[in-house]
Amino acid sequence: MSLQIKGEPRPFITLIAIIVIGLFIGFSINQLGYFWVMLIPNVFLLILTLTLLVAYFEIDETKKQKSVILPFLSVLVPSYNSKSTIMKTLSSIRASDYPGGMEIIVIDDGSSDGSVEMLRKLDGIKLLIKEKNEGKASALNSAIKIAKGEVIACVDSDSYPEPAALKSAISLLIQNEKTGAVTCFIRVNDPNSLLKKIQDIEYLTGFGFSQITTRFLDAIFVTPGPTTIFRKRVLEHIGGFDEQNITEDLEIAWRLRKFGYGIEYTPNAVVYTDVPGDLKTLYKQRMRWYRGKLFNLRKHWDMFLNPKYGTFGMFILPFSFTAEFAGTVLSFSFIYLLFNQLSWTIKYTLSNLTMGAPLVDLSTMVVVGASMLMVGLILVTPWFLAVYLSYVIGRKKVSLGDIPPIALFLLFYGTIISFFYCISLFKEINRSDYKWK
């Protein structure tokens, strides 16, 4: 059985919520103007970005690590119908420069694509076969029980660690007994299309710049699914992964914090992962991420604005949810503006039709003034800087070819993601079913 979120749908409440929010935003736009309404959520995001930027420049790079003996490692690779990618994943793991010794455990979670037969023929891996598909968290928990390593690396079957990644991450993990997990620098594998190139920038900022700065603030938000390193005893202490959670990687990060464990990050542990190549797949992925975030907020509500959890509870957690707030306000504002402009253009065209005048006249389409443009451009500069620093962290040079995806990322991608945030919020309100294999 695959993992499902099931509930009694609440279409009436959802409809009321949509109407109330829509009316409120429409009323605000009429009273204040769309510029000010759309500016408010962006100010919250600006404060978040500036905090991370200041944190970045406060990071002390001089502290040296102690030399350590690397422990035996268990690499867990949950696999569900991953015939096309898992061989590459296993090759990457085997190519790791890890001197402490390792075992690789592949957990087949009820695949039906013939990958099991393929995996059976492989030497040097332990294969754990589950008859039914029970979800990634369950697969990982089953493997933790049989893992021999003191340290566990959870690697997705479509992710490819660089040879030095595991060594870098584990060296950091064992520096401090209170460290429960180390997160890696997740990068996009083979960004060969525009959508993937935009996601490449998103991952550079999200798993590079954001992770390094939230690490400094001791407030890492997520232990990314593609690859994270855990101490086995810590996983056992906190009860493993939550099997009823669609974003088990997010949930476990919050739970580690609840149990008082630290989460580290190193940009030297680079792991490449496959990302959605089309909008439909991206939408599905993001629904899982954003709904999972909302679901976990309900589950761990006690952490929200709780000083016990430091910067994480008081700042990062509340501010991360401004993304939902911003997404909702921006989505409704865009819809309002779109309908407004559409109805205006139809009336204008019909008027021209009545008078026999030319139908299209682009000079009438001006909706953004020079002052609006200037205010917007100044406020977007921290994001430009954050993207640039993400390239620095990723040791990547900004080439001319990167400029179009960067521009699209900063100007349009956020709009698409806003709609995803907004939809995920209403799906959560509606308690829509979610099924994740």
Partner: protein, 225 residues
């Protein structure tokens, strides 16, 4: 690059610095935006000031015509003045409405009111000129409109009037923002022509509350195609 733990005090410093930066950046952006708009507003205001000076000038000429017998010479000067200001007046209509629709800091109501009054004076002067100088060739067109974003058909009608003005030397278009702050003269003016909606046109003292195409307007003012 490995990251080290920050001290709590240091973290507080991070938030403080970020808050100050956010305020500074926000203030700079608003200041720059406000300055750009103020500059544009001042330019429009200056143009309106020039128009108002033109009105005063033309009014004096008009009085001159009435008090002197050298009608021919004065009428020639008056006509050239009316021609010049008519161009400026109408251009200002588009500029004013476009600025209003994209403005985030400035209210353009006061300028629109002044614009209404200037146009009113020009229109009345044109009537006086026609009467005093016996010139029947000039054809005034009164164009009543409301704000750009609220009235797409006003924009469409305005574009048609642009073409008419360009093609017909005898056309004189006077634009009146119906939704400008209420003035007693505006109420009387609207009541006189029975204007209740926008866009509306008055051509040859006849009111048209429907959209008029280029051909129809040209026909009404006797402008050959």
């Amino acid at each position: 690059m490995e990251v080290t733990n920050g001290e709590d005090t240091m973290k507080k410093g991070v938030f403080l610095k970020a808050a100050v930066l956010a305020i500074v950046l926000f203030a700079i952006s608003l200041y720059v935006g406000y300055s750009i708009e103020s500059d544009s507003y001042s330019k429009t205001e200056a143009k309106l000031g020039e128009l108002q000076e033109g009105v005063e000038n033309s009014l004096l000429f008009s009085m001159f015509v009435q008090t002197h017998n050298d009608t021919e010479a004065v009428c020639a000067v008056l006509k050239s003045q009316l021609d010049e200001t008519a161009q400026q007046t109408y251009n200002l209509y588009g500029e004013l409405e476009e600025s209003k629709s994209t403005s985030i800091f400035k209210g353009y109501e006061s300028l629109r009111k002044k614009y209404f009054l200037a146009n009113m004076r020009f229109y009345l002067m044109l009537r006086e000129y026609k009467q005093a100088c016996g010139d029947a060739s000039l054809q005034p067109i009164l164009f009543f409109y409301t704000a750009y974003n609220a009235c797409p058909s006003c924009v469409a009608q305005g574009k048609v009037l642009d073409t008419v003005r360009y093609e017909c030397k005898n056309a004189r278009v006077y634009a009146f923002p119906l939704d400008a702050e209420e003035l007693s003269i505006m109420k009387s003016f609207k009541a006189y022509y029975g204007i209740s909606s926008a866009p509306s046109l008055v051509v040859g003292d006849k009111k048209y509350e429907t959209l008029l195409g280029k051909g129809e307007i040209k026909e009404l003012i006797g402008c050959a195609s």
